[in-house]
Every structure is written in structure tokens, then in C-alpha cells.
Amino acid sequence: MNQDLPPVGWSRDDMARLAAIDIADGSYVNLGIGIPELVAAHVPPSREVVFHTENGLIGVGPPPPAGFEDPELINAGKKPVTALPGAAYFHHADSFAMIRGGHLDVSVLGAMQVSEKGDLANWSTGEPDAIPAVGGAMDLVAGVKTVVVLTEHTTKSGEPKLLRRCTFPLTGRGVVRRVYTNLAVVELSPDGFAALALAPGLSLEEVRRWTGAPLSDARPEHVRNGE
């Protein structure tokens, strides 16, 4: 086992579950492409959360059973979905009126980098031969009331994604409220990153080792003491 790689920590489903638990009953939520898509499956059954996809549907349901895919019923990741009772279709200008106009409660996005000021970089490495592709991310971070990030704590090679400053081109400045990683749940406080919870078996020191900026301790007292 490679000593220079970060611990495994939570699974992607664990991360999605933690994010889902923080979404209030009755919320309108947009899920980004990738790990964020897992959140829908983890909403507690006692709550009703309505999912929006920017390509023109609110009331997104689970994926259809195999063989029942409709190429004209897809989500922003271009994967087949279903529409729940109470759903509505609309065109792109109306869809982004919802987003930009502040009507959505939560946007769950993936990230390449997050800075301690809440800056988000999730669309381009800025490398000269990269094909830049932004999609709706800049609109989501500019318009949705609460923006949270669901991402591995580091890159595959162990580079931290939580940094003092993003080195990749930004998606938005000071927009991220909370980050759910495989190692920790991290809040963006006025003083920077603050750990709200750690994956089982991990110490704050261990998580700090894989974090590219100071990480304060915002865990409840009893959890801290029990460490």
C-alpha cells in the first residue's frame, strides 16, 4: 500500500448520503454531473425534495429501467431519467431564469479545486490544449441560494483540492458554502475551512495532511472529545 496516497474514507454513496441529509424537506435542488447525481437516491424517505435539471425539467425522477430509456428525456449529464408526477418541462431561458433568479435552494456541484474563501474551480484546468467547456456551472453558482460541493478530498494522485487559492480558472468567487469529501464534511467559515465531521477512523491531523489550507475544528464538543 502506497503511504503517499490519502486514506479511502467515506464511499461516494456515504458522501452523497451526508449531503442529502443536509437538504431540507421541500427544497428545490439541482445536481451537477458526476458524484452529485448520487444525492437523489439518498434523500431520507420522510422528506420531499424536487430535483431540477437545467436542460428543462423540474421533478426529475430516478433512471428508467433498462429498455425504457427515452433519448428525449435526459438530465444535464445527458443520462436517461424519468419525470415524476407533478413535473414540468420548460425551455432553456426559463430554466436559467429559475437558476439565476434565485429560485433553487441548493446546487450540488463537483469540484477540481475549492479555496478557503469559497472560490470554486470546476470547469477547466486552464491548460493550453484543454477544450474549455463551462456548461451551466457559472450560472448555478451565481444564482442558487446555497452551493455545496461533493468531491474526493484529493486528486487521484493525492494532490489536495481544498486550497488557499485555486490555481485553475474559477467558476465563481466566494460561492461554496460546504464541501462533502471522502475524508470530511467541511464548512466555509469566515476564517476558512472548518471541519464539521470526519470519516470514521480519521483524525483531524490526518485530514489536515491532505488539505491544502488551514482546517479548523468545528465538530461538536462531544465528538471532539471522543476522538
Binding site: 424536487v50 423540474i58 408526477p85 429559475m98
Partner: protein
């Protein structure tokens, strides 16, 4: 479970307070939420700013709200219409302020308010007194003026059907300002003739998705404003 239904018009408007900005749907009587407006009259809130295309007629609906001096300011395009006497009286005696806005600019400012667009340029009203004092700028060789978004604390709207999510359909030309006003208010309150079960409304035909609606009130048999005016009814 999401359920935006509220048991009465009175309950739906119970937190509209003095000084609130309220959008009121309708083009003349078509789409005017008469029962919600009357509940607001009963509620007694003062110093209101009302955004609505007209100013009501007779002594019911919007006119009944204006008559007792509850409205400090009207933002509208057409405050003068048949049987409209309440607003003109107050306006002439200086007891109500008026911001007159071309109808298309009014609609676009409301739409902008709901869409997170703080300001936009338009060719409407250029060269007229309604452009006086407004910033202007030439695009493509043509003069345009800068107009700002309008938002409100509340919107009172009449639609035709709703479900518990607040999804709405409207009836014919009673649609008018309803859909855009629902998007531009912090709290949109809608009276509807009938309530559907979720899924009964065709998702392709929902005009206002429920995300834009906060409260729904079932008013099965709304009164017809023109009839009340003809009969000389005054509210309350």
C-alpha cells in the same frame, strides 16, 4: 410532503404588512385575483406599493384597495379605463403616486426581476417623456434606454388549476401577467378554480412550474368583477 395549499384567502395574505410591495395579476378583470385582493383589503395593510397593469374599476378588487388610501404608489401602464374613478380621484388630489411604465417594459422588468437580470436596455419609450432622466445608449445605431428589474414581496395571482406543488395552468387571456409575477415575488400567492392531483396536469402544458409559487388557495367560484361593477357593489 410538499403541499402549498392554504385553507383561505385570509390565511394566504395574513403576513402582508404595511409598506409591502405587492404585484397583482390581471389585465382588466381577466386574471384579476379578486378574492385575494379583498382579503388584503380586510387585512388592512397600508402604504402599499402595487405593481399591476391597471388600477381597477368600480369599487371592488384593486379599486377597493386603493379607495381607502391603502396604496401609496401604483406602478402600472394603464391607470385609466372604463369605470375607473377611484384612482383618478386620488391621483388628482395628490394622494397616490404613479410610476407610469409602457406595458412591454413593465412586463420585461417583472420578467427580469424573476430571472436575476438586474437591468436591460430597451428601445421602447425612447424619445418620449417616459425616457426623461433615464440612461440611454446606442446599440447597432439605435438609441435604447436602461430599465431596471422590478421585484415584490408578494404577488397575488389568479390561475385556473393548481396541484399541491403549485404547478399552474391559466385560462385563455387571463394568463397575462400571472406567470411572470409569480417569478418576481418572494412569496407568490395564487387563487385557482380547481385543484388537481400531482400528475393530472400534463408536464408539457404546465405554464408556471410550482417552484415559482409559495401558496395556493382554492376559490371554486370566483366573483366576476365586471358584474359587481355593473351592479354597483362596493367592497367591503
Amino acid at each position: 410532503m410538499i403541499d402549498k395549499r392554504v385553507e383561505s384567502c385570509a390565511a394566504a395574505v395574513a403576513d402582508i404588512s404595511h409598506g409591502a410591495t405587492v404585484m397583482i395579476g390581471g389585465f382588466g378583470e381577466a386574471g384579476s385575483p379578486l378574492e385575494l385582493i379583498h382579503a388584503l383589503v380586510d387585512r388592512g395593510a397600508r402604504d402599499l406599493t402595487i405593481v399591476s397593469n391597471n388600477t381597477g374599476s368600480g369599487r371592488v378588487g384593486l379599486a377597493a384597495l386603493i379607495a381607502p388610501g391603502r396604496v401609496a404608489k401604483m406602478i402600472c401602464s394603464y391607470p385609466r379605463s372604463a369605470n375607473s374613478t377611484v384612482f383618478p380621484e386620488l391621483y388628482r388630489s395628490g394622494r397616490i403616486a404613479l410610476e407610469l411604465v409602457p406595458q412591454g417594459t413593465l412586463a420585461e422588468r417583472i420578467r427580469a426581476g424573476g430571472a436575476g437580470i438586474p437591468a436591460f436596455y430597451t428601445p421602447s419609450a425612447v424619445g418620449t417623456i417616459l425616457a426623461d432622466g433615464k440612461e440611454s445608449r446606442v446599440f447597432d445605431g439605435r438609441e435604447h434606454i436602461l430599465e431596471h428589474a422590478i421585484r415584490a414581496d408578494f404577488a397575488l395571482v389568479r390561475a385556473d388549476r393548481a396541484d399541491r406543488y403549485g404547478n399552474l395552468t391559466y385560462s385563455k387571456t387571463a394568463r397575462n401577467f400571472g406567470p411572470i409575477m409569480c417569478t418576481a415575488a418572494d412569496c407568490s400567492i395564487v387563487q385557482v378554480r380547481s385543484i388537481s392531483e400531482p400528475g393530472e396536469m400534463d408536464a408539457e402544458c404546465v405554464i408556471t412550474p410550482g417552484i415559482f409559487v409559495q401558496r395556493v388557495v382554492h376559490v371554486a367560484n370566483p366573483q366576476q368583477e365586471s358584474r359587481l361593477v355593473r351592479e354597483g357593489v362596493a367592497y367591503p
